[in-house]
């Protein structure tokens, strides 16, 4: 268990660093969604299934979609997001 937690922690940090360092906003959004997804695994490990579900549905799901909605509109209107 503790190794899984450590792994997830590293995965979160890695994804976060990718999200911050990448040049592409789209990649950043996906990486941020991954952070959330890994976090929801951590929540399961921490005996918080409710939180895990919410984080997965809202944090990594809906939020990512929202980002893409806006991003794609901006792209089509000439922004480089």
């Amino acid at each position: 268990m503790i190794y899984v937690a450590g792994l997830m922690g590293l995965a979160m940090l890695g994804a976060a660093i990718v999200a911050l360092a990448t040049k592409s906003t789209a990649v950043a959004v996906i990486a941020a969604g991954l952070v959330s997804l890994f976090a929801s695994v951590v929540f399961v490990l921490l005996a918080a299934p409710d939180v895990a579900m919410t984080e997965a549905a809202i944090g990594s799901g809906l939020t990512t979609f929202l980002f893409f909605f806006v991003l794609s509109r901006i792209r089509r209107e000439g922004g480089n997001g």
Binding site: T54, A57, F69, S72
Partner: protein
């Protein structure tokens, strides 16, 4: 560059503060008085199996009401912000994905299932993990799917708005009933607590969770739709 350096220094110092918090942190050996109360008295007091749900809906119901209001506000404000934006009218929708035959058919099949699943999640919130927010988010994903499948199509604004308002008003009314019929605002004991562990138990919790689910779903959908049709204003 200077800014990045200053930011780095500040963040590092903040890190020191956080580090100190983490180092000083000693996990509790046992639950504190508040948590013990919840662990022992949630079933007799609220009739819910899921302690988190009981806390969310009843003990800290005021927070949750505020939380629902956050989404309500966001939906309203996103619409306001985008209404102020006058942009080019060429192109429609987000154009996130090209909507093909497959997606459209798939959507038609999936939507009822997703809706059903969403309802299941919030109706069982007092028993199992999940609840109004998660269920609402699932409902909204159905809406999202519909939007993707057919960007030109709109849900009825009117319907969304009625669902949103109706569930909101009903939620507040339930709260006020608690004030008059039971121990206080948002007391779930305005309905019988029922048999512990069954679906019709835990007083008003399932009802409230259902309302939350509907409301959250409607609000998410309306946020998505506002973003979708911004340029029409």
């Amino acid at each position: 560059m200077v800014r990045a350096f200053v930011t780095l220094v500040f963040v590092a110092i903040l890190g020191l503060a956080f580090g100190r918090l983490a180092l000083d942190y000693v996990p509790d050996a046992a639950l504190n008085q508040t948590a013990v109360h919840y662990a022992e008295l949630t079933p007799p007091e609220t009739g819910a199996q899921n302690v988190v749900a009981a806390i969310i809906v009843t003990y800290r119901g005021l927070d949750t009401l505020g939380e629902v209001t956050v989404l309500f506000l966001t939906a309203a404000i996103v619409a306001l912000v985008l209404a102020q934006t006058s942009g080019p009218t060429k192109g429609r929708g987000s154009g996130l994905l090209p909507s093909g035959e497959l997606l459209q058919t798939g959507t038609r099949m999936l939507t009822p299932l997703i809706l059903l699943f969403g309802i299941y999640v919030f109706v069982n919130g007092h028993l199992t993990p999940g609840g109004g927010f998660q269920g609402g988010a699932i409902l909204a994903s159905a809406a999202l799917l519909l939007l993707l499948a057919d960007p030109v199509r709109r849900f009825s604004h009117r319907l969304l708005s009625w669902v949103e308002s109706g569930s909101g008003v009903f939620y507040v009314l339930i709260g006020v009933f608690g004030l008059f019929l039971a121990g206080g605002f948002l007391d779930n004991r305005i309905l019988p607590l029922g048999d512990f562990g069954s679906i019709f138990s835990a007083g008003a919790i399932p009802l409230i969770y259902a309302l939350i689910g509907l409301k959250v779903g409607a609000e998410f959908s309306s946020i998505l739709e506002s973003l979708e049709e911004a340029e029409d204003h």
